[in-house]
Structure formats: C-alpha cells, structure tokens
C-alpha cells in the first residue's frame, strides 16, 4: 500500500515533488509573512513603551492600538 502510494506506477517522483514544492512554498510564505508581522508588532510595542504617559494614554485611546497590544500572539 505504502509502496504503491510512493511509487505510483513510476509517476511518484513527479507527483510527490509537485506536492512537496507546493507545501514548501506555503511554509516559506507563511514564515516570511509571520516574521514581518512579529517584527512590526515588536517595533510597535517598543515604541509604545517609550511614549510619555499622557501620549501613551492618548495612543491607547485608539481602538486599533489597543487591539495590537492585546493580540500579542494571535497565531
């Protein structure tokens, strides 16, 4: 059964390499986009931490800023 799935009448190399390339492309894109997201979020958190208290209070009053700070690890 396993041999049949892997060999596929001699077409296994073509079929499996196509699926493998697709999955590797997915993984690469996912991690590239995730790294970009984490980098920007960390930059945001660092900048937020450096704000003076009244400016931080003003920035925190914006809904989107609160969401970014509360969703520190959402995926």
């Amino acid at each position: 059964m396993i041999n049949e799935i892997l060999f596929m009448n001699g077409y296994g190399i073509y079929v499996l390499s196509s699926f493998l390339f697709t999955l590797l492309s997915f993984l690469s894109l996912y991690f590239v986009v995730k790294v970009q997201y984490v980098r920007e979020r960390n930059k945001f958190i660092a900048k937020f931490g450096n704000l003076k208290s009244e400016r931080a209070a003003f920035a925190k009053s914006q809904i989107i800023n609160k969401e970014i700070l509360s969703n520190s690890s959402n995926f």
Binding site: Y14, V15, L29, Y37, F44, Q62, I63, E67, I68, N74
Partner: protein, 235 residues
C-alpha cells in the same frame, strides 16, 4: 457608506481571524491531501500523473482570481480615493504571486511525463509566465515608489495592463493550438471530468483559498501595524 471598511473597524476582526483560518486550513488540507493522493482514482491515460492536477489547477485558479481582485480593488480605490482598497490589494499580492509560481512549477513537472518536456512556449504557459511578471512588477512598485499618489497610479496601471492577460490565459487553449487540453470544468455546461476527481479538486481549491485568506489577513495586519508605527512616530 463604506465606514465599515475603515482599518480601525476591520482590524478588530482581522487580528483575531488568522488562528481560526489556520485551523480550518489544516483540516481542509488534510482531507484534500488524503483525497488527492490516496482515494481519488488514477486516469486511464495519464495514470497517477493526473494527481498533479490537484495542486496545479487550484493554484492557477487562485492566482487568476487574486490578480482580478487586485485590479478591481485598485480601480475602485483610484476612482473613489479609498486608500484601504490599495492596502487590501497589496496584502493579496504575495499569495497570488506564490500561487502563480506554484502553477508554473507544478505545470512544468506535469509536462515532463505527459508531454515529454519540462517547458514549452505554448500560449497558456507563456501567458501564465507573463502574469507572474505582472505580479512581480506590482510587488516591486510597492517597494520602489515612496510617493503614495504616484504609487497608486503606477500600481493601478500595472493591474489594468495585467488584467488584459486574464482572458488570454482563459481562452488561450481555444484560440490557439496548444499542448494544453481545452477546459475540463465549465460553470455553464456539463464538466468533462468525473465527480471522483472533481471532489478532491474542489477540496484542494478550498484549502488553497483558505491559505490565501490566511496570508492576506497576516499581511493586512502587518500593513496596519506599520501605519500605526508611523502614527506613533508623529506623537
């Protein structure tokens, strides 16, 4: 009227959605892979090589769909001056480009056992390669141009020129003598593909669509945080 499309309103949804979309994607992909690699039958002519269709065709469909969406959003954004549409279009582009590359590479791998060659300058393949170049130009434009007005104009022009290529890709198999077979799946008429192959094809298409949604959400959130970072600099 379009207030619900404001980034502040959208972010509360887009920031929470990726984890659910990722979970759904893994479930649907697992079902799709089982169907595509194990349960679906082999073709009487192409034998098991037909299984490449389950990654090649959905990737091509989604690459075309995303480019059409990017064009639509860019035109609307330019006409109605809605910057968020450009941001949505920009966030869609990376997954569209990757799906385009997947379609080209898996098509090339499929070509070897069926046509005996890795590459042919056939109308469908060449027009898909041109689409990849339009995706590349669009993504590079976002990196090159700093001036927003200029950027929106250039990206809109790229997408408008690129969209001309979409019907060429679709009808290339009917207009020219190509190595590709004519379309097997028709929305308006009966498809020439058996349901035992159609089902895994749709499951894999759903999985790919979920993946592009996941990448879009992550990229869109990143872009919104980038804007907010600039906002904090101004405080």
């Amino acid at each position: 009227m379009l207030k619900f499309l404001e980034p502040n309103k959208i972010f509360s949804v887009t920031s929470k959605a990726p984890k659910y979309v990722l979970f759904l994607f893994i479930v649907v992909l697992s079902v799709g892979l089982t169907e595509a690699l194990i349960l679906s039958p082999e073709d009487y002519k192409q034998s098991h090589a037909v299984r490449i269709m389950y990654v090649h065709v959905p990737a091509a469909w989604i690459a075309l769909g995303i480019f059409s969406s990017i064009t639509f959003l860019s035109i609307l954004g330019y006409i109605f001056k809605i910057k968020n549409f450009f941001l949505i279009a920009k966030s869609l582009a990376p997954s569209g480009f990757v799906f385009n590359i997947i379609a080209l590479v898996t098509g090339s791998i499929w070509g070897k056992p069926t046509w005996g060659t890795w590459w042919a300058w056939d109308a469908r393949i060449t027009s898909m390669l041109i689409l990849a170049l339009f995706y590349l130009m669009y993504l590079l434009a976002w990196r090159i141009y700093e001036n927003k007005e200029q950027l929106y104009k250039i990206t809109s022009i790229i997408t408008i020129l690129g969209i001309i290529n979409i019907p060429i890709i679709k009808y290339s198999v009917d207009w020219w003598n190509t190595l590709h077979q004519p379309a097997s799946i028709n929305i308006l008429s009966k498809s020439s593909i058996h349901s035992s192959m159609l089902f895994p094809l749709f499951i894999m298409t759903a999985a790919f669509a979920l993946f592009s949604l996941l990448i879009f959400l992550m990229k869109y959130n990143t872009e919104l945080i980038k804007i907010k970072n600039k906002g904090l600099d101004r405080l």
